[in-house]
Amino acid sequence: MITYEEKFDIIVVGAGHAGCEAALACARMGCKTLLLTSNKETIAQMSCNPAVGGLAKGQLVKEIDALGGEMGFITDKAGIQFKTLNKKKGPAVWSSRAQCDRVLYRVYMRESLENQKNLWLKQAIVTEVLIDNGKAKGILTNINSAYLSDVVILVCGTFLNGLIHIGLENFPAGRAGEFPSLTLSDKLKEYGFEVGRLKTGTPPRLDGKTIDFSKTIPQYGDENPKPFSLKTKKLPERHYLCHLTHTNGETHKIILANLDRSPLYSGVIKGIGPRYCPSIEDKVVKFRGKPRHQLFLEPEGENTTEYYVNGFATSLSEDVQLKAIRTVSGLEKVEMTRPGYAIEYDFFPPTQLNPTLETKLVENLFFAGQINGTSGYEEAGAQGIMAGINAVLKLRKKPPFVLKRCEAYIGVLIDDLVTKGTKEPYRMFTSRAEHRLVLREDNADQRLLEYGYKFGLVSEKIYLEFKKRKGIIENEKKRLKKVKVSVSVFGKLTEDMENHKRVSLAYALKIPDITYKDLAKIDKDSKEVPQRIAEQVELEIKYEGYIKRQNQEIEKFKRLESMLIPPDFKYDELTGFKHEAKEKLKDVNPISVGQASRISGVSPGDIAVLMVHLKKFLSK
């Protein structure tokens, strides 16, 4: 064994979406960081569809950005179409999404990494985490080189014992065209980690030259899109189209006739797949009554003719894939450039983690991303930055950084993972967030930017801009509440308004059909404000009632969250718990009474008992 001469503070194993955020956070906070990847050409690879954001995911990206992460910034640079989803609904569920140029994305991310101070980027295949006396102390590569560090962050995506299936053929791989990591998870299993198996899939890629787009429905992006990142001054002028087409009865017939050659239906695949991202064979089998399924043709980038067929994830054999896809309108003569495939991979059930993403079993070893059973670039990136920040805080013996469920989707994500675990690849939905009315994209900076600045991840410039923006918003809100106008200026009156002669502008803004723009017409003192500010003022006033209500709930919620349970609090000798509750509490080892209350099988009675014992423990 050769040991590399220099010791690092932190080693990050894997340069996917979690790894890049983790490594950048560590380096930016001033730690000597080594980022290892098995292939320097596929850093920040978008293994699935070439898009970032979407429902609840857009929120995650904005949160990462507010904390000083990179994903939003790179998305803005590599974006080829931008769109806000759910625009017809309320602002809490507006979500941004960008189609990206897959190659540009990884090029720009590598550029960020390579130019980052304190960051070493190397290509190596890691085979083992070196553990000494219950503490991580470095890693070993397949050519027997050891790199030493105080902290190891493992972010290996689907590479752990990855097994690709196409039809009844299967072979080990990290993802299509890359080496898997075959020993890393086995070694950790030997050490005592519990390992599970998940599955995910991806659709075939098509040659755009062979698609008849005239038979499809074009899908446009927004005309004046907003960037994801506070760092982005101007979005690139790229407006690519996506195209919508559909499967039909013929497609379904071919798929149903060939299920015996599907690894999913012949029982070859054992891992559990995501229900929100079903393969086309799953859709056809489970919803037989549905005459057609949507397929979105998404361009892979500027300098390629390849298209991604979103909605057609499959592990059917290659010939069946081609036969089926050629029944689709516009794809009759299509050429497949890469077949779709399913991949099975190892993950570590995340209840083995503390909310800092450090493993309970091995000190200074952190897990983030798909290895924790999540799916999605945004979920991975969010964990990456949190693992990175916490790794540094741990090194510096500072208190951990755990976001509450009421503060951020990131808080919901990590709390769900470490408290409840997951049985299928975990994806964020807005419905998972009980306080979603306040976890909006537009206020991600208000919720999180102070943290990012405090950790040194957000620049002084961005921070000052934020402060200024915040001041303008507050003043404008106050002004709208103060300025009164005669109700006669409004064309039609609501029932409520008929009782008033004069109302405040804020009052008027709460009327469903009246917008901030409308106010400008009757408001003499109105000044032109940037769109971002106008939007936030408008919706904070418009939805004030609901926001207030949610904030009251949050206050209640915080009470239990702020009752912290010290790590050395032991459950064994304690009386008054139900047996099941005690086992679960021991297992999860929650950091707060609030977290304890969310463990399934722990009742309000158990929580009362826990508070009694905790009080005694803390008074000692």
Binding site: C277, P604, V612
Partner: protein, 467 residues
């Protein structure tokens, strides 16, 4: 970290509970603890002093009224206690009233309406402990006590949740999950080609659930007694003074009182309030085995009323002995809860009275003179006391668990109403979902938590989503 615990309790909700065993004493106590205790007391108490203005550890005479009205519930003694010298070390109010659980529930209910939350099992003790009122050495004992109380409460709740009730609550939950899945799928999967249920369907479903909850609310025992009152039936042979007794009990001339026997041929009913116990009094036709068809019809009705009675007042003329008809009547009421009322006590000779007293030695009896309204208060006391015994049979714990269920169902209903309103006003789906989650969580308090995962499961089983 220690600081967290010290400040915790004062941030919490104000809690209220009946803190005396139900149906076992002449007096009962409703206890209110927490930051808002005095404010809440102000809202429901009418006396010389406002509880919030009263010095610590003082007792005040007054009455508890229905919130925002002057409608009296009961005469009470209210004790104001300022922290830290209280059981919970929080602001504490204790309201002593008559021991009838009807009254206690009414008071508790008003405390709830005024802003208190129903206390969880053992919660007063928990607060006492967390706030340092109970020695740390007692932690294990306190933990065990909370567990015992929680277990008991759970057991009672479960015993109650068998059959129809649990079936209904589960079906409400299923319906709500379905509606939520229909809304959430539109929020989280906006680009999918879906056919979610339309607004009309959802409004209709919400109405159905609301209607179902209303029906359930009607069936709750203490609801029924509070609404209909204790059925007290006055019986006796003709002309013993039943109607005079009714009038005396009502303190007004309601029934026609004449010396002609058999004047009351119909059943007359009136509502009264005996020491806070709502009572419905039924005056019946004189009981006489008769050939008169109209009277015979009256007797039939009397028997019917006896069958439905919670308690019977059997009026006997103290100035004469029991006759054949009365012996027959005694047989009819034997198996029902009854009080013998010796009327016209002023007219009876010492001899006849002592004979009757011997005869009724083993029964509850009261001596009165209805015309002169003597002994009436005594009789009212006796009936109110019987009402308490009636509670005990109904099992205090079951009533308590009912009260919790009812509270949860009311909150669920409120959530449904708000959701309906938002839906009608065309608000965006996430606002409707917010209130529906509240409605669902309230039902979950009775039959077990519903988690996001349940809604996601429904989405994935009913809708083909995902790309």
């Amino acid at each position: 970290m220690k600081k967290n615990f010290k400040s915790t309790s004062l941030d919490e909700d104000t809690i209220a509970a009946i803190s005396t065993p139900l149906g076992e004493g002449g007096l009962g106590v409703v206890r209110i603890s927490g930051r808002e205790a005095f404010v809440i007391a102000d809202k429901i108490f009418r006396g010389k002093v406002k509880p919030s203005k009263a010095p610590s550890h003082t007792v005040h005479y007054g009455k508890v009224v229905v919130l925002n009205t002057d409608e009296e519930i009961d005469e009470v003694l209210l004790t104001v206690m300022h922290p830290p010298k209280t059981y919970t070390k929080e602001p504490l109010v204790e309201i002593s009233s008559h021991g009838s659980s009807f009254i206690l529930y009414k008071i508790l209910n008003q405390a709830k309406e005024a802003g208190a939350r129903l206390a969880n099992p053992g919660e007063f003790t928990l607060r006492a402990f967390l706030n340092g009122r109970i020695d740390l050495a007692q932690a294990e004992a306190v933990a065990e006590l909370i567990k015992a109380k929680t277990d008991l409460s759970l057991k009672v709740a479960l015993s109650h949740l068998k059959g129809e009730l649990s079936f209904k609550l589960n079906s409400f939950r299923e319906n709500l999950i379905e509606i939520l899945a229909n809304l959430e799928v539109q929020i989280d999967f906006p680009e999918e080609d879906l056919e979610p249920k339309d607004k009309e369907y959802i409004l209709k479903e919400l109405d159905n659930i609301k209607g179902g909850i209303d029906k359930l609310l009607d069936t709750y025992d203490e609801g029924k007694i509070l609404k209909d009152g204790l059925r007290v039936v006055i019986v006796g042979k003709p002309n013993v003074g039943k109607s005079s007794l009714l009038n005396a009990l009502l303190k007004e001339e309601r029934a026609i009182v004449t010396p002609v026997p058999g004047t009351t041929r119909d059943v007359i009913s009136e509502d009264a309030n005996f020491k806070g116990v709502p009572v419905r009094l039924f005056d019946t036709a004189g009981f006489r085995v008769s050939k008169d068809t109209i009277e015979a019809e009256g007797i039939k009705r009397t028997k019917l009323e006896i069958g439905k009675a919670d308690m019977i007042l059997w009026v006997v003329d103290a100035s004469s002995g029991l006759d054949k008809d009365e012996l027959e009547l005694e047989k009819q009421i034997e198996s029902f809860k009854h009080v013998v009322v010796l009327n016209k006590i002023d007219l009876g000779s010492e001899d006849s009275i002592s004979k009757l007293l011997d005869r009724f030695e083993n029964k509850i009896y009261k001596e009165i003179c209805a015309i002169k309204r003597e002994g009436i208060e005594d009789l009212i006391d006796a009936v109110a006391k019987e009402a308490i015994t009636f509670d005990r049979d109904a099992n205090g714990d079951v009533v308590l668990s009912n009260f919790r269920h009812k509270d949860a169902l009311l909150r669920s209903k409120e959530g449904l109403s708000k959701a309906k309103k938002s839906l009608t006003e065309k608000l965006s789906l996430e606002f409707i979902a917010l209130d529906l989650r509240i409605a669902l969580d309230a039902i979950g308090e009775i039959i077990g938590k519903t988690v996001t995962e349940d809604i996601l499961n429904k989405i994935f089983s009913d809708f083909c989503v995902g790309k």
